[in-house]
Symmetry: C2
Amino acid sequence: MNTLRILAVDDHEMTMLGYKFILERIVFDDHNIIVDTATTYEAGKQKIEESLHSFKYDIIFLDVQLFPPNEEQPHNGEDLGILARQLVPESKIIFMSSFSDNYRINSILKSVDPDGYMVKTDIDPKSLEQAVKTVTSQPPYYSSKALAAIRKKMSNDISLDENDKKILYHLSIGTKTKDIAEHIGLGSSSVENRKRHLKSLFGTEKENDLALILAAKNRGFI
Amino acid sequence: MNTLRILAVDDHEMTMLGYKFILERIVFDDHNIIVDTATTYEAGKQKIEESLHSFKYDIIFLDVQLFPPNEEQPHNGEDLGILARQLVPESKIIFMSSFSDNYRINSILKSVDPDGYMVKTDIDPKSLEQAVKTVTSQPPYYSSKALAAIRKKMSNDISLDENDKKILYHLSIGTKTKDIAEHIGLGSSSVENRKRHLKSLFGTEKENDLALILAAKNRGFI
DNA sequence: CAATAAACCCCAGTTTTTTTAAGGTTTTTA
DNA sequence: TAAAAACCTTAAAAAAACTGGGGTTTATTG
């Protein structure tokens, strides 16, 4: 009878409890599942550090958004994921995110390369169980909506450099062109040129920024 | 009692029969599953065209390799997929491939964007059933090894243009540098430059082509 | 509604990147 | 051991990207 140790980090106490309840009920070979929980970056970090010298977590569930989306966020789930990868590279990491925000998904898949990614609306007892089992035997596990986003990205051949991606992202959150120029260290006419170029890539020449943003969203870039 | 119509195309008669046997046994709500088969591009094409004016196939399974890998291949599974997409865009297409050849996977995901992709060694009654169900309700379905390849691709931030990809591909199949130059319409010193550039991107400076190829394979480009 | 700011467009000059050709050295192949 | 291919360096040409300026249009805002 082995023990499968899971750490779940989510800022909502109640959803945490839900996860714990479901996860510990999973029947998995002759495994005994124990779930630790944390609701903040700090607490999560501490749990992981403590585990270093005793048991190590087999699976770490991380909420991307560890704060209400207004206040200053010193660290988010992505940071914790990067940290966890360094400290315990053998632990499987599964991200949970409320929105299927492609830009975020893409970014996390690159920075952390988690063993699993679940969009919250896809999460239910069944998918959780599937995630745990898949991740331990043959990762990765991506939930249905995550897969749909990944599919979009894989199926289009537009390749953008970092600056183009940043421009798209900033456009989508309403940053002004002149401020975008500052952010990425380019002159504003360069940004204008790149925007024109992007619009031609996405087939929205002569249209407004909204059309560009929508096209980029459809293709999985934002 | 609905009918779910499936077409399976694979050049091996016996595996075809295996698929048919398994697929028709799937219990799926109150669906009745009927499987048509074909063993060549031509036969597959004909079945699809015939279906246009009667029933249409809900799912089309396609083997990528429709020929023994030596002879001249006028058309392969990928071509048939592209054709099927045009003729019956509402049909779900699932590719089956013997090797988890990343270049091929990437190429098919872009050209056809199938609703499913299964590496043959992943295929068994369970995964077939899973594929059929997932693809009809919330595509896509990617088998375990396909997912692993996709994960590699998503998790690395090297972005190559078409020419670089082609160079990598040709290197991997042993095309000579001077011939590569012809193929992609560049001078040979450009190809040499690009190769140097690629080697630096993949961290194999000053090493031989094999090292580059291996690194590119590991990152999911070939 | 007017005034201001931002966005947009076009141009011309500059910088950077990519391609190319040529000549010589090393490695592979036949 | 020749011949072919690959490789490297260099310098020049070509292409692409960036920049700043000036003028027009569109949005914002007081």
